[in-house]
């Protein structure tokens, strides 16, 4: 703890932490766009492709200069992206393979240059090794100032061009159609990604930079459905990873900063994956369980309804009262244990009644209240099927939530049309309410039907 405080008060550390925070923000923001354009791994290629540029900058200049390194990195990074698009455009090699080619060849050539430089035996290893896995501690105030400038530029441009980038990621064809220069915007975005990668290289290193472009945006995605919020959260996550990673790696000086920052981001991702509300795994599991429960209840009710109607309408059943569990859950396949659980729940709610004979065989039937409920559910299901069958006519019908009754969501004319279609499709026993109109309860309809000699 004390160590942490002394760290924080050390001005150099403050600069380093600031730098990593900035790189986190920019990679979070730009990474969001890259992710949505499916260009995430391009960031990886750019980072690897930057290596020869950095080495050449050193070889030409003769000594360490972060500014020149960044220029070299940008140049060879851009050259890399150019090669990627040229290769997939002018040969039958697919984009994923051209990515792999550029990534590995440029990096390989970079290692050749690195070892060449090592030959010249400069004691101060030129600071180039820091670029492999990152050495945030080697950042000085001058470097940070450059990073601040670039990061500020990137964030401002992202803000100004936000809706253009949104369009670019979502539907470039449409954008072109309304006259936006999609090609130019694409190039601008690529350039900004390259710059983001370049300013992050010193802290995270060539090999792992891709992670900062991918992990924070993916983690942010779990918290929101809106792009602008995703971008902001992503920036925050990136910044957090940068800060935490740098501070943590301060405890272990022999550890390069890159991996620690990446692992901090990864931790944020895991937390988001599991615990984000609504989209997190935990939340989804709870929701699914609730849904499955509701579907099971509906299925049992519907099956009971089908069985009842079938026997009443055809007058078949002579062997006693109610239906066995097997008959019920056989209609709509369900586990027997779940079926039993649902049936006892329904009994508690008074929708279902049970009779047990002396051999312990249980038989179940709907109560009047249960029958009303079951009828309403089945009618709803059939109406929904009509909507599915004729999407051209009913496609505009909006069903907001799972539990909505169709009757409540559509206009009376559409409801009429749907009921008419039901008649045409000969769903026999739903007709009581359909045929006799009005909102009769199930029992009333049923009485009406049977009193007219059972013509359903």
């Amino acid at each position: 703890m004390e160590f942490l405080l002394t760290l924080l008060f050390d001005p150099n550390t403050r600069w380093v932490v600031t730098g990593c925070m900035l790189l986190g923000i920019s990679s979070g923001v730009l990474g969001s766009f890259a992710l949505l354009r499916k260009h995430s791994l391009v960031g990886d290629a750019v980072a690897h492709a930057a290596l020869p540029g950095i080495c050449l900058a050193y070889m030409l200049y003769g000594e360490k200069s972060i500014g020149l390194f960044m220029v070299g990195a940008t140049a060879s990074g851009l050259l890399g992206t150019l090669c990627i698009s040229l290769i997939s455009k002018y040969s039958r090699i697919k984009p994923d393979a051209s990515l792999g080619i550029v990534l590995s060849v440029f990096f390989g050539f970079g290692t050749v240059l690195l070892t060449r430089i090592a030959q010249t035996g400069k004691a101060n290893q030129s600071g180039l090794d820091a670029f492999l896995f990152g050495k945030a501690a080697s950042l000085v105030q001058a470097d940070i100032e450059v990073m601040m400038g670039v990061a500020a530029f990137l964030i401002i441009v992202s803000f100004l061009l936000f809706k253009e980038f949104k369009l670019l990621c979502f539907d470039p064809g449409f954008g072109r159609g309304i006259g936006f220069p999609m090609g130019f915007l694409g190039t601008v975005l690529m350039l900004m990604i390259v710059l983001t990668v370049v300013i992050g290289l010193q802290a995270v290193g060539v090999v792992l930079m891709a992670a900062m472009l991918i992990i924070p945006p993916v983690a942010a995605r779990y918290w929101t459905e809106r792009l602008h919020r995703m971008v902001i959260i992503s920036g925050v996550f990136g910044a957090a990873s940068g800060i935490v990673g740098t501070l943590l790696s301060g405890f272990t000086p022999q550890l390069p900063t890159g991996p620690v920052i990446v692992l901090s981001a990864f931790l944020l991702f895991i937390v988001s994956l599991f615990f984000a509300p609504r989209k997190g795994l935990v939340a989804k599991a709870l929701h699914t369980a609730k849904l499955r429960r509701r579907v099971a209840v509906q299925n049992i009710l519907q099956s009971l309804y089908d069985l009842t109607e079938h026997t009443t309408a055809s007058g078949i059943r002579t062997d006693g009262w109610g239906f066995s569990e097997e008959e019920i859950y056989h209609l709509r396949p369900q586990g027997s244990r779940q079926a039993r659980r649902v049936l006892s729940y329904l009994k508690k709610r008074g929708w279902v009644q049970m009779l047990e004979d002396n051999q312990g065989n249980k038989r179940w039937a709907l109560t009047d209240r249960g029958a009303d409920e079951a009828y309403a559910i089945t009618l709803n299901e059939r109406l929904y099927e009509m909507i599915l069958m004729y999407p051209s006519r009913f496609g505009s019908v909006k069903l907001e939530q799972e539990g909505d009754r169709i009757q409540d969501c559509v206009s009376p004319d559409i409801l009429q049309e749907l009921k008419l279609l039901l008649t045409k499709h000969n769903h026999p026993v739903l007709l009581p309410q359909v045929k006799y109109g009005a909102d009769l309860s199930y029992t009333e309809c049923h009485q009406a039907v049977t009193s007219r000699g059972g013509d359903a």
Partner: protein, 251 residues
Amino acid sequence: MTSAVTVENMTVAYHKKPVLREISFEAPEGKLIGIMGPNGAGKSTLIKGILGLVPLASGKVGIYGKPYKIQRKLVGYIPQRESVDWDFPTSALDVVLMGRYGHAGMFRRLRAADREFAFSCLEKVGMSDFADRQISQLSGGQQQRIFLARALAQDASVYFMDEPFVGVDAATERAIVSLLNELKKQGKTVLVVHHDVQTVTDYFDWLLLVNLRKIAFGPTEEVFTSENLQKAYGGRLSFTETLVPSAGIKS
């Protein structure tokens, strides 16, 4: 009549939205059966469900009475064109040869007899001159014919085709139709997802109308009625009323 394909109570749902509901039918052997329905009605899904390419929420499928998994050798499938990589380094003959893989079995080599048979299948679709051509150099219709030849090479008893007539040139269309008739002569059963209501009565003996559920199934003359078409397509009355008389079928 033996049933080549039996489908019992098949239900398929994508993301909780049902695409096919409780479909049941028995396809008799030796018939050309058209599968029709509006877009999104589940026709391709029906075939994929039978072949085990999509999971079934419920239902059973039988090929000559036995489960599909055992009867694979008897079944040939011609999918819609897009699903392959046309830049794959392989020639037309090579693709047709792939039809023999099922017969050869795992770990086994193909034999000269297989090559000859594959070549004869190419001839049957009129593509023998292109045997050595890499497949991306062929036109759309030619590619479709290669797929047909591959299905022929499988020498199956039951064939499933998914919209084979979409976007093909006249020559290919003729090739497909003559192939269908040839298969029928050999006593094979063919189920074809078809998109064109105008031609359906010319090509197919039996018809399966699908829209989420089975609307109707049986000999074309019996099924192709304006009432059934309305149920399937839900269109305005006039469309089906003009269509049915023009097909020479009483409504």
